[in-house]
Symmetry: C3
Subunit: 365 residues, 3 copies
């Protein structure tokens, strides 16, 4: 417990933890102050995500490479997963899908682009191991094809019905299988190609916590994230209206930035320390994980938890954006070299999408 | 004739030749047993295709590099061409188009992917000459653009009419010209870049037959394939219904797998012998040949043989699949290196397509 | 003035200057002879564009690298800009947009392809610095994404209205910012990567003119181009009908070829002299400049000069063509090596587009 306290004192991000109790109090007292609840829940989720991320890495560090890699790969986006599960239980499928698409776009364009830009402003050019980036880009490309198919077919068959549900379950199983095989490839059979990036991942941050503390933190903080997420999901749409934002903008941009804030802090720190392997690994790995693990798990879980089954049929505009994001990231990371202008290119594509979503008349989405 | 007999005894695939007479007998006796006729004709086409392929290579080996390369390049997909011509004469244009699109998708995704996977299960990593793969990928990319245009324009102009027919003839001429120039490039002016792949092609299989036997086999087997194809084309749609398969699935997957079975056997054998040049050359070369030679020839021939002219306007879903297949193959073969996971990626994209076609409600296509 | 005269005597292209007065005379006498006026104005624009281009380079050569690079980058497509401005003032927005899309497609496919082919017929293989090509391809890719978004969103929101205008202005600002940052990157912070291409650019053509002559020529010829453009824009559509060409073909192909004739002459000459750096730099640089500078400037200027604001919403077919052209150019230039067949591939894609536009029934566009 002392260790946890020390960590909190050293990491200014964790001072935001004070907003966790504040959310619960505010939710009791001003139940309809959506804007206030939205702001407080955002401020509370960010430090919880940072704690979750550190706890996961500590457990991973203690359990050895293979199991640890697996843990990182499945729990690395636990915050996004818990937020999406909360929205799923509330039946807000549009928000769930927008947050999936938004997380993919935000990780590949904003997180990667800002890493390149921040690193590039300090170093003339930076190198990184492109093998890992290529694997993640390949997986991401596969996932966007899988997400493209239901939307492409929908044009002709608007009724939805059993076809779309069967297709979505089948695609989900294929994606999870591809993700598992990708882990087998990068952690087991061909791990020597992925060396630099993975070892970097382990070292990052403060020293790992002892197993007991890590496991208790993991469990306790997950519950807290779930509780705060409920307030967040309830307040986000109405707060958005108050801020003059469209629902698409909220799901795509705001939820994705909140859910990924902790990872972004790590990725940006890596870039500033000229350890771009780390940044590229976090950004591309996180995007691949959401596309090939979080999204299909949500589809399968919706049969148990949701009010009705969720399918993988996205708004066509979201499919186009995911496809462009995956292609752009694949092209940019194919060289293994970075300079500030590559970050600008990625951020420009992100700005184009964000601006379009911000301006888009609500009824279109 | 002894040589032919010896070949048959040594190659278990050729024992299936016994099904050739069986098809003709069955067709007389049980004229309406579509499922039986379908199964028998499939079993008969596979060994005939293997014989055709060997005969073509024998003629090619005897006639020297340039003429031989040309022969391989024009007769290499004779089986697919004869099946498609039979469907063309029967006026089954939907089946013709589905089998073209399916052959491109099957060769680039399934044949290439299974080669990478089979080779990768035996060897940690494999190398191949990527120059040939790049040329074929470039040609394939060109062909998918040509096939995309009529479908893209159709959205606006549904009447078909003279415009679509003129456009299809023009595109066909351009594709054949590009294919011819590609042969000139790879067999004549810049052949030194394509060395390894081509020499591998010649060596493959048993010793070449003498010219006479090869020519007779070529002529005789082509006639047999044509006769069996008639039974196949007549029975395939009704048999599909009996098996619970959609017409799109039959055209895309079943016909393509049957027509390409002989080539797949060679490609997979090459991969297991660590001669991936051969596998990549067969898979990519065959896909390019169907897109740039078989498809346009069918359009031009339809003016003579078909009940009405055929155009190059494909079902939009087929265009998307061909485009994705060409892009995926281009990306995967750009490195010149293979490992088992690249095969998994290609096969996963193939499975996504096959599953979608299998589940697709028939009226959509 | 002597120098200008000497230049004209040495360069046969400039003998066409005699058509400049001819246009003005003809416009007075045969005001309705659209075909004649069209042909004369084309013949007059070509030499004027060559003069403009030489004057710009002379000013650039005298002002030092950074300012000179900037001048070349902003005035390099002055002819296209002046023609488009004339069409803008006349309210012919369809022609303006077609000429933008056409210039991008023509530069990336026809100019680059013909350079590769002409160079490749003389040299077995040619090398060039691919860093510059990659930067331009990246910028071009960004621009096609920006131009894709309004058309993708239009499907859902046909009313146009304030959304489309706000979006177009926002995208224009982003594109100009990306272009400016790209110049900063290639001319200032990372100029060492772009060496060969830029130095080549400076040397090309005859010796630079003195500053005074260059500035006077720049101003005078710009006025002449503007005056001839008025005749051209007025006559082009009716002349097209007389020649049996569709309006889309005229905007895409004819206007783009006329506007880019001078640059093509330089690019082709470079390829024949085995200085492919120069050809690739002109073709890709010109395409990027039109997409990221000329197009957005026209949108912003339309608020001042045009009868009504112009947006960035293109005909979907044009968007597809620009996207394919940008991708094809990126793929082809990624290797830094060229042979004649790469030129054929690029030209074939161009021919596919040109043929489709030529055959397209007019009401579709």
């Amino acid at each position: 417990m002392n260790l946890l306290w020390k960590e909190i004192r050293h990491n200014p991000l964790l001072w935001l933890l004070v907003f966790v109790p504040a959310v619960f109090v505010a939710e009791r007292v001003w139940h309809d102050a959506h804007t206030l609840l939205f702001v407080l829940s955002v401020l509370a989720i960010v430090p919880l995500a940072a704690l979750l991320s550190h706890a996961t890495e500590s457990v991973a560090a203690k359990t050895g490479d293979a199991v640890g890699g697996l843990l990182n790969a499945t729990l690395g986006n636990l915050t996004e997963l818990v937020i999406a599960l909360t929205a799923l239980r509330a039946g807000q499928y549009t928000l769930v899908k927008a947050s999936i698409a938004g997380a993919i776009v935000t990780n590949t364009l904003f997180m990667l682009g800002a890493s390149f830009l921040l690193g590039g402003l300090k170093y003339h050019t930076q190198e990184y191991n492109r093998v890992g980036a290529r694997l993640q880009a390949g997986l991401l490309f596969l996932a966007t094809i899988a997400l493209l198919v239901p939307s492409a077919v929908r044009v002709a068959d608007d009724s939805g019905g059993p076809f779309m549900r069967q297709l979505s379950v089948g695609l989900s199983v294929l994606l999870i299988a591809a993700y598992a095989l990708g882990l087998l490839f990068s952690l087991k059979t061909h791990r020597e190609f992925f060396g630099s990036s993975e070892s970097g991942h382990g070292e990052e941050g403060a020293a790992p916590w002892p197993m007991g503390l890590a496991l208790v933190t993991l469990a306790g903080v997950t519950v807290l994230v779930a509780l705060v997420s409920e307030v967040f999901v309830e307040s986000v749409q109405q707060a958005a209206v108050a801020f003059g934002m469209t629902p698409a903008f909220v799901g795509f941009i705001v939820v994705a930035l909140v859910g990924g804030a902790a990872e972004m802090a790590s990725a940006f720190a890596g870039a500033r320390k000229n350890r771009l392997d780390l940044s590229v690994g976090i950004a591309m790995g996180s995007a691949a994980q959401i596309a090939l693990f979080v999204a299909p798990v949500l589809v399968l879980v919706s049969y148990v938890l949701g009010p009705s089954p969720m399918d993988l049929q996205f708004w066509p505009g979201a499919v186009v954006m995911m496809l462009i994001a995956a292609m752009t990231a694949a092209l940019v990371t194919s060289s293994g070299q970075a300079a500030w202008f590559m970050g600008v290119l990625l951020l420009m594509v992100y700005l184009i999408f964000a601006m379009t979503l911000y301006l888009l008349p609500p009824r279109v989405q």
